[in-house]
């Protein structure tokens, strides 16, 4: 059966790699984001690589007025409909310290924006009795750290939202995969000091697709981050609060 996917934040290199992987299987992909020139380029690329349909759609996490139109477009497709959320923004913590007003935007981009859209989409998935939601969070959401705790808090909120949505969609035959990537080789991490074990976006896309097929609930990608985060989460707070990791 042919599937249709809406990919939120499709200009990111992780999303691009995921869209390509879907295109290769012949799925329909709706690439949603703000930079239409870039999205159109990716849509052409997906078509050439075998997508049944590839379309660029405008999506801005901070402008929810546009959300119903996106959901309506997706509902026009027959068969299973799915969503993958790659949106996010990560200003430097120091920029946030200088201007706490940035917090609202971070929370909207990483959590409430995509959550609002998923909330609108959920009844459609329930009605069809199928569908997968992939939510890309972050290992940063597993524990608040001095370096990026606002971003981490937004991702953490998103993780909790996804867990609840999973609980809800399971009842109607749908599924939610929470993806927690470690360091991925994207424009976001390029040239930043202290990066290690950086994974290529294709590898992450591949891991996500496998997790979707196997109906995994929460995955870390690459897998070893599960263990790294296990250690980080298990450090007692009295000690953790004195560390800078």
């Amino acid at each position: 059966m042919t599937e249709s996917w809406i990919i939120l934040g499709a200009t990111s290199s992780m999303a691009r790699a995921f869209a390509r992987a879907l295109a290769k299987r012949g799925d329909a992909v709706f690439l949603a984001g703000r930079d239409m020139d870039d999205l159109n380029a990716t849509a052409q690329d997906c078509s050439a690589r075998g997508a049944r349909l590839a379309e660029a759609l405008t999506f801005d996490a901070r402008e929810p007025e546009g959300f119903p139109a996106l959901v309506a477009r997706l509902e026009q497709e027959d068969g299973q409909i799915n969503a993958a959320v790659f949106v996010g923004s990560m200003p430097e913590q120091s920029a946030i310290d200088a201007d706490p007003g940035l917090i609202d935007g971070v929370i909207t981009d990483n959590f409430t924006g995509p959550a609002r859209l998923l909330q609108l989409l959920t009844p459609a998935l329930e009605a069809r009795g199928s569908g997968t939601v992939v939510g890309v969070g972050s290992v940063a959401g597993d524990r608040g750290r001095v370096g990026n705790y606002v971003y981490g808090a937004a991702k953490s909120g998103f993780h909790t939202y996804l867990a609840g949505l999973r609980n809800r969609l399971t009842r109607s035959g749908g599924h939610v995969v929470t993806v927690k990537p470690g360091f991925v080789d994207t424009a976001m991490t390029w040239g930043i000091e202290g990066m290690f074990l950086v994974a290529p976006p294709d590898k992450v896309a591949d891991d996500i697709l496998k997790a979707v097929a196997k109906k995994r609930n929460v995955i870390y990608t690459p897998f070893f981050w599960r263990y790294i985060m296990l250690i980080i989460r298990s450090i007692p707070e009295p000690i953790f609060k004195k560390l800078s990791i």
């Binding site: 290199s13 020139d37 870039d38 050439a48 424009a187 390029w190």
Partner: protein, 437 residues
């Protein structure tokens, strides 16, 4: 855009550089970058020497701009971003009946690199060079975006094809693909017993694709022996291929020592039965035989290797014979040695091909090999031939002008396009290509 301090090298790993590298993921980011801080564009670093190096400077990594932007299934013209890999295009389009007309020896080469080095393939005698199939180039020069075509902007187009990236940053290009019957190739291999026979079979081969593997260690009666490979594309769609292998670490220095290479070559030669053989393979196998082993350059150890590649005019085969003789007697050659008849097709002022014979031989990076390559370069120059910039790591400024008679036209275009010299690479610096003689 953040810049990342990176140590990197060409494919031969003998020359190295340390540079600050930016890696844009969108065309808009690339445009801004080139306007604000122009630097040489680099791809997957498959040129052997220093064509992609800019030691102590900056470079723009194009590999994330690798999308297919459009395809016209009537004309076969495909538009791609410059970082797209040529092997990917082959894989994607061959099953639909189209193929890039020119495929270099590695599928990892990017389209931008294929243009900037005006690469050739095993069918050069039939279709000419890569640049001859490019119908349009979108070039970024500072804050200007220019659209180049072979007929509309002939001068800068010819300076860009084979132009080593000196006229601007290639952002996108259109290439006219060639119709093909499928993505399988009928490959015929037969033994060739001597040098004279090799020249004659290369001259008379009627196959679309052909190349000679030559045993660069054989001397005496078996001098010039090798295997002629001829290929024709055929119908059928290849099954998904197996996983690529990888050379996990640097091999020790004796891995490619003379006795090992001689033994390997003996086996490689005898592997093809006396009467020849014909097989059907997915096209990637004969096009990109070495791509199946990732990082095969590590076989040469941490000191790396050099490839010498020259082309000499048709009437200069005695000079080529002398070169091979010198190589065979040196005991320095690796198993990788290739002889091919080229046609005259070339797309730019600084393009490598000429009507004649090309010889390519790999050598481990040792002082003896470097001396030998210097000698081979002089012999090439005396024979009225050329050395290939995409492979070169050792040549000197004085030699180039005679080999590339259109250098003056290229230099004028490059100077006009990049008066500050922001796009100069280590290769261009080493060979003094951007300074008038």
């Amino acid at each position: 855009m953040r810049w990342k301090r990176t140590d990197y090298s060409g494919w031969g790993r003998a020359l190295r550089a340390s540079a600050e590298i930016a890696r844009p993921e969108r065309q808009s980011a690339l445009k801004q970058l080139v306007a604000e801080s122009p630097a040489p564009a680099i791809g997957r670093l498959r040129s052997y020497g220093d064509a992609a190096l800019n030691d102590g400077g900056r470079a723009i990594d194009m590999t994330r701009l690798d999308r297919i932007l459009g395809f016209d299934d009537v004309s076969g013209v495909v538009e791609v971003e410059a970082g797209a890999m040529i092997g990917d295009l082959g894989r994607i389009f061959a099953a639909r009946g189209w193929i890039p007309p020119v495929m270099p020896g590695t599928g990892f080469a990017t389209v931008g690199g294929c243009i900037a080095n005006d690469v050739h393939g095993k069918n050069h005698h039939v279709v000419g060079s890569f640049g001859q199939h490019v119908t349009e180039i979108t070039l970024l020069q500072g804050d200007k975006e220019r659209t180049l075509t072979p007929d509309g902007t002939t001068d800068v187009f010819r300076a860009t094809v084979g132009g080593l990236g000196q006229t601007g940053i290639i952002a996108r290009a259109k290439i006219r693909l060639m119709p093909c019957r499928g993505d399988m190739m009928v490959l015929t291999e037969r033994r060739v017993d001597s040098w004279d026979e090799f020249l004659s079979v290369l001259e008379t081969s009627r196959a679309d694709y052909n190349v000679g593997w030559i045993d660069a260690t054989a001397s005496g009666a078996s001098f010039g022996r090798g295997i002629l490979e001829e290929g024709e594309i055929t119908s059928g769609v290849s099954p998904t291929k197996g996983k690529a292998r990888e050379v996990p670490f640097n091999a020790p220095h004796w891995a490619l020592s003379a006795p090992v290479v001689r033994a390997f070559n003996e086996i490689y030669f005898r592997r093809v039965p006396q009467g020849g053989r014909t097989t059907v393979k997915p096209i990637s196998a004969p096009f990109f035989p070495l791509d199946a082993i990732h990082n095969w350059n590590r076989l040469y150890g941490k000191r790396g290797f050099h490839q010498f590649q020259c082309v000499v005019p048709v009437d200069q085969t005695p000079a080529l014979r002398n070169m091979l003789d010198l190589i065979a007697n040196s005991g320095l050659a690796s198993p990788l040695a290739v002889l091919k008849r080229m046609g005259e097709g070339r797309g730019g002022y600084m393009s490598f091909p000429m009507d004649g014979y090309t010889l390519a031989v790999d050598f481990p990076n040792r002082s003896g090999a470097r001396l030998l390559i210097g000698t081979l370069e002089r012999m090439t120059e005396d024979a009225g031939g050329r050395i290939y910039f995409a492979k070169d790591a050792l040549s000197e400024p004085g030699r180039i002008a005679a080999m590339y008679p259109e250098h003056g036209s290229w230099l004028k275009a490059a100077t006009k396009a990049d008066p500050e010299g922001a796009l100069i690479t280590d290769l261009v610096r080493r060979l003094n290509l951007r300074n008038a003689k």
